[in-house]
Amino acid sequence: MKQVIHRKFSQKLLHLSFLLLFFFSVSLVAQEGDPAKGKTLFNTNCAACHNLDKKMTGPALRNVEATLEAEGKDRQWIYDWVHNSSAVIKSGDAYANKLYAEYNQAAMTAFPQLSEADIDDILAYTAQEAPAPTVAPTPAGGETASTGGGISNKIILGALIVLFGLLAFALILVRRTLNRFAEAKGLDVAKEKGPSIWKAFVQNQFLVLVTVIVLMLAGAYYVYGYLMQIGVDQGYQPVQPIHYSHRIHAGDNGIDCKYCHSSARVSKTSGIPSLNVCMNCHKSIYEVAPETQQEGLTKYGVDYNAEIKKLYAAVGWDDANQQYTGETQPVKWIRIHNLPDFVYFNHSQHVTVAGVECQTCHGPIETMEVVEQFAPLTMGWCINCHRETNVKVEDNGYYEKIHEELAKKYNVEQLTAAQMGGTECGKCHY
């Protein structure tokens, strides 16, 4: 009996110790700061230069406190560093100087506005375990579904062909059985032939004449249609060396066209952006969001992350070490919108002076996954727009006087580009 009492006592002790441990650990966490708050602070203040798991401008910060503890740096050192890193470096701290040299002498911005509690929160966030990597989608599944749009169209077409084939076959069968019935009953179906339709047709000269005229007109119509589309590349949609989705960049992210095509503002060509413009963002964006990647694989058959790797290879960016290798490779972009050599077209005149939206000529680029030529780019198309578009005269001293005089001459309030001389041959052909 005594032993049982003892056992109960030891059990109670165990419970108590568990409880104590629990309370202790809870209070420990409370001292550690709030990881959720830390995440917000990290994203607004640190994420420009630090990633949790990847070297960026500064080192990766996952478990930074543990790493620093191994170097013999306590939390006070972290406070000092964040508040004013250059002072720590100047104090002659060996580890600080080593870090400074290792990261190309990029001085970390001072954050005096972060309180010690804020830094505790951030440290709590960095101490969190890394989330398990999401399972990569199987490429095989992606590929089969990739050409989804094309396949469904082809399926419909194929089904239609099969259906018509079956119909024709059924008709032939029906005819055969009917003939057999007729034979069986002793009826003579096909023998009763008067003059054939063909002979009757040939003998009717009027009908022949009309048919010939109709055939000639139809032929001329199609030949004319074919000749008129020679040299017109409307719908031209080449495959580019690096898949660049205007839908994501200009559509979803709302980046202005002129951000990348900056020379459209000031020069003749709209400019194919040089790769350093891509790197303005893709230095930080080294992979797309998992949902975007999934969408690309299933809907468009594109591995967006692989395309970013292609960009890195072309521009010579070593993502692991965050520096340029100097080995670059020009990207052979395929130009889509081509005007013949005998036409002069200037982007800045249209974009900056006239204030024409890019979409007026290039169509809904921001919805195109693969860009295609939207406008025919024929002379008739140019002239039409010049006839219909009013000249933008606001804030344009150059046009004010001539606009006033011409408006009086033509007795209109607003001049169109054509009335301003926009249909003169020499404007574009010289």
């Binding site: 607004t44 420009a48 960026m56 990029a106 202005d256 951000y259 040089s274 350093n276 303005n280 052979k332």
Partner: protein
């Protein structure tokens, strides 16, 4: 009957082959290509003049284009600090044109820094790029010199905007950034 069937299949094959020749990934036929295709080098065309088939090369190091003022301050931390403390805008108050600077700022900067300069651009809101500071950030304490240096060379994750903005445009944007900073500090 077999004959007509043969004729029909032949017609189908011809029609199908004509239709399948319409390839969207290739440009259409041209009438008299030597009137369409330029003889001289066109922008971005391919040529055999230089390695890799490029049509133009980067100018020789040290060459100065017409109407271009060299920027002496180097792309280092010391250079940044020098610019921050000593570099001044060549534009006086009459030359600063916020109406011209705002569209430029909205195109090139606002996508990350936000139209108000508070670091809440569209890319930040969509969590594509993180950690874009607000212009009134006390630790950075930006000045016109430091803004210009940053636009010219880039800083940390931000790239250089020297090739997208001309020198005057850069200084116009600098003035606009300072205005946004003043508005934020109100």
């Amino acid at each position: 009957m077999m004959k007509s069937l043969l004729k029909i299949t032949a017609l189908l094959v011809i029609v199908l082959s004509v239709v399948s020749c319409q390839n969207k990934s290739r440009p259409n036929y041209q009438f008299m290509p030597n009137m369409y295709e330029p003889v001289g080098y066109e922008t971005y065309s391919e040529s055999s003049a230089f390695p890799n088939g490029v049509e133009a090369l980067v100018p020789a190091e040290g060459s100065i284009p017409r109407g271009y003022t060299p920027f002496d301050i180097p792309n280092t931390t010391d250079g940044f600090n020098l610019a921050k403390s000593s570099l001044r805008s060549p534009l006086d108050s009459t030359q600063v044109d916020y109406d011209k600077a705002k569209p430029l700022f909205d195109i090139y900067c606002a996508i990350c820094h936000g139209t108000k300069g508070d670091g809440q651009g569209n890319l930040v809101k969509r969590e594509k790029i993180l950690g874009v500071p607000s212009y009134d950030d006390a630790g950075r304490a930006i000045t016109e010199g430091s803004i210009y240096h940053t636009i010219y060379y880039g800083k940390n994750a931000m790239g250089s905007y020297a090739n997208q903005l001309s020198e005057t445009e850069r200084w116009q944007v600098v003035a606009y950034v300072l205005k946004l900073k003043a508005d934020l500090e109100k």
